[in-house]
Assembly symmetry: C2
Homo-oligomer: 534 residues x 2
């Protein structure tokens, strides 16, 4: 999510989300912290979306709900189609979504806005040129320079060169593959490789990829058709995205090629290709369920070949490997991008990043979309093509960059970090809840309920001891007994000292119980003493 | 852990442990389930250890404590040294640890035992030949055929060939790298590559590797000495393992080369090499703490170069990548095995596995030590060198293989799976505790304490409502109020229906509260109602 402000007016480019990392226990989604925009909602002229991936559009429903509906939302044809479907699911209707054809310039307050056609692993990816009185800001979105894209329309290098000739004040550039020397393989190199692998398969073929990679899915469909195999699209997002793309004329399949997932078992193995979600080993995805023999329609068996036309996103290696190993255990074959050139990244490699820099000749460079390593390597590439180190800015989330026609400098830090989505709640990272969950997930919880007399603080009933998630003590009646003794002793002492403040008694109980439990179990569960006065 | 039984007598080869995967919340270690050996403890003739890695010796203290001390424990020199130190830490003394030199044959009941020298990523790795009346069982341990190992003693191919000539009944072979074509690079190729990288570093050097890879640490020390840099060993296991190896004459350093970790900052950057634990991004390791600016002795800064002389073990990719990115954020340089040939695997690749099969010409092959994928690929290699598919057995943990001179077949399934170590407790996987922890880690816990009269079931005190780890409701007094109403209604209904069984009332409360909480929060925390009768 990038916000560009000129004369108090704002254009937002992309509103993506992040999937939670392993330490964010129980968190469903992570959004950018857009609270700074809340008090400036009436200054927003437009939201511009570069492409339809979740990390660029996924936060949009939350942004619209929290900040309000902006005058207009621009994007490419498929982007708008996918976002419309997403907003429908969130029951957000009457949102001013508008396709902005590449090369067409519109005005929004003090901004001119133009989209520039780029290649990526989803159709209709665009760079965004924002024209202002101070100069042009170019935000690349995610891109590669695919010279032979599947749709036949390469990235618009001519327009980028014109922008460069006319002067670019600041280039905000995708850094994802800043560590890979050379040029990314073309998406259209994947089709023949898939066909080649398909040809060698004697049994059923299951191919998995990102559902949003419409051109990849199209190439798998084409390969299946060439070999006279029927195709089943399996997984909700696979079917949904293909439908949207197909309705927009971006994807197609011969009449009668498709079969329903539940028909898969009715056709001979050598006549079927299943195209499935789950290339990242996602817990509830179709492929993962197949690998765990838990899919309602497709039962994997020996003779099947599962083709991963994707590589694991960093962090997903373990779930992908687990999925692959389950497939091996069933006895099916697995083909990955390590075995055949059946995947091509959607992000340009070093030579492409340098080409972008040389085409647009920016006065200032702002590498973004990458971890610290890749941001630094992108900065090194900019320096390598001759851009002054003082004109290269590696930012942090929330740090503003101030630009005018002559110079750039770091501005205010608006402290934008992350917002967590946790069930239906949306809010700042709740450090206490997360810390408690971490403790709970490690060592469980110990609850001791004591009932004391409001008159003299004496025990009225036996303490109740409850533990959950604490290991191997379920049958430990002895421990429970001893713990009751600890509680009685603490309460007796409190009564003797005439401590009558329930909070103080709870504190004493907490410390004594925690110490006892640690001594016995060498564990530090969450200890919750409850004192009931009657 | 492999147990070989002949005429009711048993030899155990290796007693390793596993580190818990992400879904084993709060579990510290995973042991093989050796309960079947408990009732047969008096039949155990010996434990033989192939090498000193945790996944081969780590369960030994638990095995000795649970099953008892066997008549003898054999292993190579360093293996015995490392195990002795480990048992000392567990206060297990007077254990009959005995170095068995390679090539020397001893007798243990109906077994002849001989160790065969192999190469691996730790010195003194051995294969185990067990001679029995039915034939010879050869267990490779972890191995590679390094033709130029650092200690100058290659794997004993001649002895393996002799064993093959005399007849091997069954080969149990390491499958770790069954998916990699060719031959693993030699460990001694790493030293020159490290020196080359060191030479290019102008500032401080921090190199990280496995502490047990003594030859790797030695090569880093030698490179530092050549460049006239002082060396600090940082991290407990790094110091411990080097000390053990050094006392046994397996590692050495020039007098005066070492400095203490706390002296690092006293020397000029270009005069220091830090050799550190943490190559896997382990949470409490020295390197991870440096990357988080939290190490007491070494503060990373721009100009430092951190060299990863190791690759991530599958599953550790994320923590390694996070560590690397933190180092980039600090501004230091990072060199990994992707940038220079500074790592060599300790497990042989496909050509080495085939060489082992051709040398030993086994009647039966039992691929082990690998996931399902690699076991199957190892089986394919065995078939490729001409072994009958019916003589190749891919097992599961707990499944026994019965062999006699003429044939082999699957025997009884003794259901050995895993044992969890959780704090000081050791036991069967506690599915209830783990399930609770998963729930707790996702959605937290909701506790409602009610106090009712033992006479008529009426409420005596206001219900106490406590929640921990539940998101974003910390200030939700309204919710607490509403919940009290829910509780009162449930109790009133119970009193009206004359329900006096506390367990039944708790069940009612649980269902009503869980429904209410889900409706409000769309979350399913663990709900614990407590009813106190006074």
């Amino acid at each position: 999510m990038t916000a560009v402000e000129v004369d108090g007016r704002i254009v937002i480019v992309d509103t993506g989300l992040m999937f939670p990392t392993a330490d964010m226990l129980g968190i469903d989604l992570v959004l950018p912290d857009f609270s700074i925009l809340r008090e400036r909602a009436d200054r927003i002229e437009a939201i511009v979306l570069t492409h339809g991936h979740e990390d660029h559009v996924g936060a949009l429903p939350y942004v619209l709900r929290e900040i309000g509906i902006p005058p207009v939302i621009y994007g490419g044809l498929l982007t708008i189609g996918m976002v419309r479907s997403k907003l429908d699911e969130h029951k957000l209707r009457d949102v001013p979504l508008q396709e902005l054809p590449a090369g067409e310039r519109v005005t929004a307050g003090p901004f001119g806005i133009e989209l520039v056609h780029m290649s990526h692993s989803i159709p209709d990816a665009r760079a965004v040129a924002l024209y202002t009185d101070h100069g042009t800001v170019l935000i690349t979105g995610d891109y590669k320079f695919d010279q032979t894209p599947v749709d036949g329309i390469p990235a618009d290098v001519s327009r980028l060169a014109e922008l460069g000739r006319d002067g670019v004040l600041c280039l905000c550039g995708d850094s994802t593959n800043a560590d890979r020397p050379g040029v990314a393989p073309s998406e259209s190199s994947v089709g023949p490789a898939l066909l080649e692998v398909f040809r060698r398969c004697e049994g059923r073929i299951i191919v998995t990829s990102f559902a949003s990679n419409v051109h990849r899915v199209q190439q798998a469909i084409d390969a299946a058709a060439k070999l006279d195999r029927r195709v089943a699209l399996v997984g909700r997002s696979m079917r949904k995205n293909f439908n949207i793309a197909s309705n927009l004329g971006i994807a197609s399949a011969p009449q009668g090629l498709f079969i329903q997932p539940k028909e898969v078992e009715d056709f001979p193995d050598e006549k079927v290709v299943v195209i499935s979600t789950g290339s990242q080993g996602e817990p509830l995805s179709a492929l993962r369920r197949m690998a765990h023999r838990d899919h309602p329609d497709v039962e994997l068996h020996s003779g099947d070949t599962v083709i991963f036309s994707a590589t694991p996103i960093p962090g997903n290696e373990r779930s992908v490997n687990e999925t692959i190993d389950h497939i091996f255990q069933i006895g099916a074959q697995v083909v990955t991008a390590a075995d055949a050139p059946i995947h091509a990244s959607g992000h340009g490699w070093q030579e492409e990043l340098k080409l972008m820099l040389n085409l647009t000749k920016p006065q200032n460079v702002f590498p973004f979309h990458g971890d610290h390593k890749r941001l630094r390597l992108h900065a090194d590439l900019a320096a390598a093509v001759g851009i002054d180190r003082e004109r290269i800015f590696i930012g942090e989330n929330g740090l503003t960059l101030e630009l005018d026609g002559s110079k750039a400098r770091w501005g205010e830090d608006v402290h934008a970090s992350m917002i967590f989505v946790d069930g239906v709640s949306v809010g700042e990272p709740d450090e206490f809840a997360l810390r408690d969950r971490r403790k709970l997930s490690d060592d469980g919880v110990f609850i001791v309920v004591t009932t004391i007399s409001a008159d003299d603080g004496s025990q009225v009933a036996d303490p109740e001891v409850i533990f959950r998630g604490v290991p191997f003590v379920e049958e430990a009646d002895g421990l429970r007994e001893e713990l009751r003794d600890v509680v009685s002793a603490t309460l007796a002492e409190a009564a003797e000292d005439q401590v009558r403040d329930v909070a103080l008694i709870q504190e004493d109980l907490h410390d004594d119980i925690a110490e006892f439990v640690y001594e016995k179990l060498r564990r530090r569960p969450l200890v919750l003493p409850v004192v009931v006065e009657v």
